[in-house]
Amino acid sequence: MTRERSTFIIIFLFVIFSLLISAYTLFQQSLRLDEAQSLWVATKSIPGIISYISLDVTVPLYELILHFWIEAFGISIFSARLLSFIFFLFTIPVLYLVAKKSSDTRIALLTIALYSLSPFIIWYSFEIRMYTIVTFMAVLSHYFFLKMIHTGGKRGQVGYFFSILLGLFTHYFFIFLIMAQGIFFLYWFIRRFNHVGSFRDYVKWNFGIIKNFLTPVFLAALFFLPWVIFFLLQGGAANTQPLIPATTPYDIFQTLVNFLFGFQSTSLQSFLVSLWPLSVIPIFFLFSKRKSDIEIENILYFLLTVMIPIGLVFVVSIFFKPIFLTRYLIFVTPSFFILLAWTLFHISKQLSALVLMVFALAMFGFLIFQNISNSTPVKEDYQGVALYLDKNAKPDDIIAITSPFTIYPFEYYYKGSASIVTIPLWNVYKSGRIPSYSTVSLAAQVKNYTKNYGDLYVIFSYNQGYENSIKNYLDTHYQRLLIKDFSPGLELREYKLRYP
């Protein structure tokens, strides 16, 4: 057996093992806030889903699919997560095809191996959110886009139209991918100008090629436009936009580290980001003589579909408002892993097997660590809090949740008999914005509980800017009995409201 083949076999064993372990660990994980929200929305009627989503910063396709899915297979975390996992599985053969058409079988195999080993991808493959669907649509759009420009057939055009339309209805950020494809198309078109005659004549003679690309894009925009108008008429999610911290260059590097090694503790991520000079080495390998015949243009296509979306999101975040979140950029991962496979595969013969094994081992190790470690920053252990309170909170105690919207995942798990409220007070069953916070209203709210309740349990998560104020007030006015951390950013505190 050749060294190359045995390397591949070992890596694929890793992949299978990592999927099995991930299925075991991640299917059982606590529901996270966003998941709970998606699941909750999906239980509504179709008009209800559309109406609710139009008030939020997302688009409705995923919740609509989830709606039919849970109608068919029942509402359980397992079945809902399975939907995401199935789209992850759908992505793999299409990704293989895209990589193979752009390079060769070995690189295609390596691409899907690295993709399936990525702790980041695996994490979202088990999350009840739209991320695996948007990635699937991204890979489909690559496939049809490349087919369209290389063969010019109607199939490519139709496929491209559907993939970008569905992509847009899955995540707003898909537009950045279409922009990257547009820029590449422009480059590709200009590059073919052979300087016989003027450029104007060239455009005139080849207008059909331009039309081939623009038709699906315009049609998709046309079909998407009614939603955008509806969304804006509903207020453009003015009240529901997430609080995203200011973006810095660090975020870009952290995103790339996340793609490769998943979500690690803050100190480990900071360490990995600090090693950025080493990322220059792969660029040398990326732009060096290839062992097999790969079109330079293909490298550029995948480069642009990684760099342009990240770059644009970064620029918007710096100059307009912060929108930079790694998970929103998940649709660039297929291109990212194709480039990575190309790069790793074209290191010298002796080295590539070693580097591949080291890489696979590192990804595998980080995957396991991410899945089982309590310090993983994206973990939200509402299940753990609920189980704790099931055992410890008595019927005459009261549980307060802040931020208010984190009530969804908690309520899903909590089976105890203590009352549940939010700080600030918010009626989750009534639509409308969450009331604003003030210390005065907090004081009145808690004072009111002293009449009827013994202990107050406060669950802190998703700090909306007033978490410290609540902690300070309660710590200085009531006896604190307990502080307990469940996962990064998820803390439980217990206070004595009255003495018997």
């Binding site: 590059r191 260059p249 870009i252 950025w276 000079p277 060096s288 003589k289 330079i296």
Partner: protein
């Protein structure tokens, strides 16, 4: 002239490169980034050097065109003397070259062996004379030394009368059509010389030949043909045809420099003659087979080129076009790279040992400027080389810093360096001493990293990563210096069994 297809770089991309370089260098002009003033100034100087080299490269390849195909009337067959310069090379190698030279299909030429074995104290000088006689070609053996290879050729010029002379090193085997392809260019009476590439037929023999050839490939491919567009290509010592009149105009081949070819072209251009670069391979020779030969060859080129910079700076001499000034300046400036590499590699060591930091801001903000600039730069080189650039070629250029520094030192101290013919046979021996500076760097880096193992400052990780980056860049060069396999594998025990 038509636009080239392979290795074509759109001017738009070069323009974007320029913009990106301006953005990048602007980071260095923002002085609040400054840490240690002296180190910052050194790095700043290095970056200015890189920017000048980059701008020069883009200027050179801007609007690169395919040269016009040249034809001449049938009656144009000026007399040519083919000089084969010999200074102790093995007789079998010289014999092959003489035979191939005699086989050339041109009506009006003779072959002359310029034998410098006697003045160079080589044992086989008499054998060369005998071989020449046996093969029916004239052999001119110098008895009065001086001027090294240049002196040998000038001696040959004095003893012959042909209008044109072709020059081959002893190992360069010309194709049959060498003269018939190059001589027609001399129909233009302003053409002084036509240079063709120096191809190494043994390029795949070992790490050194591969590295040497891959460097040559970039030089004799896009760089020389781009210089040709600017009437700035220069003589490379072998595989060329020269007009005697032009040589006489500049006093023959220049004997004052060890890079006689480079300086001769310099004076030829100064006297307003035209030069031509013929980009296809018409002769094949031997690459340096061991690190010592490579080292000596590169050091000779470095010393000769730096002389142009310090003693014949084209910006302070009359007679050149702007493009020629720029091109000679860039070719010479290239060999200052050793100094810049030294500045770059020493920074992480200074930080790891003494905590000295040239830059005070977060390195991720620097990376945001640096990586896109680097990306585009490497992509452009990749394109211009037709996808042929290798990591080894870049590594050899970077790792040659010590030999370039020693060439600079010898020039500044006016130490005389003799002309050494590049050996055509593998020199037996241990050349580890040539990489002592690199090994010392590795040792210092390892100690520096070890000393900071308990330091959690992100700057430690980043500087360690830079040190590792530099080591990775040196690896192919280090690998070529020694038979490392023998270092790790136990010597085989002598065969004590029966021999069949």
């Amino acid at each position: 002239m038509e636009r080239i297809t392979r290795g074509y770089v759109p001017n738009l991309l070069l323009f974007i490169n320029v913009l990106m370089a301006i953005v990048y260098i602007s980071w260095w002009f923002y002085l609040p980034h400054m840490g240690n003033v002296f180190l910052y100034a050194l790095l700043f100087f290095g970056e200015i050097y890189h920017i000048i080299m980059s701008f020069g490269f883009w200027y050179t390849i801007w609007n690169r065109k395919i040269p016009k195909r040249v034809t001449s009337p049938n009656y144009f067959d000026p007399s040519v003397t083919v000089f084969i310069t010999v200074a102790g090379e093995p007789v079998d190698i010289v014999t092959r070259t003489i035979k191939a030279a005699k086989e050339m299909n041109y009506p009006n030429f003779k072959v002359v062996v310029l034998n410098d074995g006697f003045v160079a104290n080589k044992e086989n000088w008499k054998e060369i004379e005998r071989t020449s006689q046996d093969l029916g070609v004239e052999c001119i053996t110098r008895r009065i030394p001086g001027g090294a290879k240049a002196g040998n050729i000038n001696n040959g010029l004095r003893s012959t009368q042909s209008e044109l002379v072709a020059i081959f090193d002893a190992d360069m085997i010309p194709n049959k059509d060498f003269l018939s392809k190059l001589v027609p260019y001399f129909y233009d009476e302003k053409v002084a010389f036509v240079q063709s590439p120096q191809f190494y037929k043994n390029f795949d023999q070992n790490e050194i030949t591969r590295g040497a050839w891959e460097q040559q490939d970039l030089f004799f491919g896009p760089i020389m043909s781009a210089k040709d567009n600017l009437n700035s290509s220069f003589i490379c010592g072998t595989n060329l045809v020269l007009r005697r009149k032009a040589l006489e105009d500049v006093g023959g081949i220049n004997e004052k420099s060890i890079a006689e070819d480079f300086l001769t072209s310099y004076f030829i251009h100064k006297r307003k003659w035209k030069s031509v670069y013929y980009p296809n391979i018409l002769a094949e020779g031997l690459a340096p087979l061991d690190l010592l030969s490579y080292y000596k060859q590169q050091q000779r080129w470095a010393r000769g080129s730096l002389e142009i910079l310090f003693r014949y700076n084209p910006f302070f001499r009359r007679g050149f076009t702007f493009a020629q000034r720029v091109e000679y300046f860039l070719s010479a400036l290239f060999y200052l790279n050793g100094l810049i590499v030294l500045i770059d590699i020493i920074m992480p060591i200074l930080f790891l040992f003494f905590g000295l930091q040239p830059v005070s801001s977060t390195t991720q903000s620097f990376a945001l400027y640096f990586i896109p600039y680097m990306f585009l730069n490497l992509y452009t080189i990749f394109l211009v080389s037709g996808g042929g650039i290798t990591f080894r070629a870049i590594s050899f250029s970077q790792a040659s810093w010590f030999l370039q520094l020693s060439a600079l030192f010898s020039l500044l101290t006016r130490r005389k360096v003799g002309f050494a013919v590049t050996s055509k046979k593998r020199q037996e021996g241990n050349y580890l001493f040539l990489i002592y500076p690199h090994l010392l760097y590795i040792v210092l880096a390892v100690i520096g990293i070890a000393l900071n193992l308990d330091n959690k400052n992100p700057a430690v990780f980043t500087n360690s990563a830079w040190a590792i980056f530099n080591i990775i860049m040196f690896l192919p060069f280090i690998k070529a210096a020694y038979n490392w396999r023998s270092f790790f594998i136990f010597r085989q025990s002598p065969n004590i069994g029966y021999q069949e």
